[in-house]
Symmetry: C2
Subunit: 172 residues, 2 copies
């Protein structure tokens, strides 16, 4: 807080006239992060222009690449200070809209492939989200080794893993 105020060249209490407390400021930063994430996913989808399956994969890769490129921001977005989104509806909305991109692509893919069960579509989206989220988290935690913090590694790994999951979800 005080460091932020210093960097902005104001007194240490100035930020409190714009944010209720530390958590509120963090929540605002996190919300901005979710908007950036959504934007990068959309841009990557648009740039690739393949079929539904390809676009689904690309969005997942964008998710992981975003995390690796902005690890601190990503941690703020999913940190414990941000855990109860109930107090911060703006944050909740931004997170939902980011997830909606992934969910939408999964559904397009399911439609293209001809899967019947509409009920399971949300679960499929959540599974896909969980997979890319896990990859992102373990990469930035260095749990896959130091080289996993390089975007190229993360991108390659995300490509393979999302392909495997997509195959499994389509089949029986």
């Amino acid at each position: 807080m005080r460091a932020i105020a210093r960097r902005a060249g104001v007194s240490h209490m100035a930020p409190y006239h714009h944010f209720a407390d530390k958590r509120a400021l963090i929540a605002a930063v996190a919300a901005e992060g979710f908007r950036m994430l959504r934007q990068e996913m959309l841009e990557r989808i648009e740039a690739c222009g393949g079929d539904a399956r390809t676009r689904f994969r690309e969005s997942g890769i964008a998710y992981v690449v975003f995390a690796v490129k902005h690890p601190n921001l990503f941690r703020v977005m999913f940190g414990e200070e941000t855990a109860d989104t109930s107090e911060h509806p703006e944050l909740k909305a931004a997170a939902s809209q980011a997830f909606a991109v992934l969910q939408g692509l999964v559904e397009q893919d399911q439609v293209a492939v001809g899967t019947r069960d509409d009920r399971d579509r949300e679960k499929v989206g959540l599974s896909a989200w969980a997979l890319v989220h896990g990859i992102a988290m373990l990469c930035i935690d260095g749990q896959f080794g130091p080289e996993a913090r390089r975007p190229e590694y993360a991108e390659k790994f995300a490509y393979e893993a999302t392909g495997a999951l997509a195959r499994g979800l389509r089949g029986g």
Copy 2:
């Protein structure tokens, strides 16, 4: 730190004679968490006693259930205070041994199914880890909704998602 000392009924500086600093204490707690996690995975595997595929799933479910049952500990295990494991080899070892359980089961399953490519086995294990890790994280962050913090929900969800991934990994 001071609260910990208070709870132990000692002065606020006593812990510093057992741990170098705050991060070292946190790392020790995290290492203990990884040992607990490994233990619970092993117990669940032993209790179910199915084939390799079933045991693989069960270990993943144990992972998620552990996270939901001990969300604060789980967050410490993967928090930013713990991010650079290079300073804390004990923590690194404990984490590796926990992951080794999952990896071992994946390889048993791959052998049972007859997959040839040994090279990909590590990637399969990492993908499986990422999936259950993502589920765990999103559950305890409340990102799947409040009911996802109940172990039963997490268990059910983990069962479905791991099944889908396993199918996808086996196929082409």
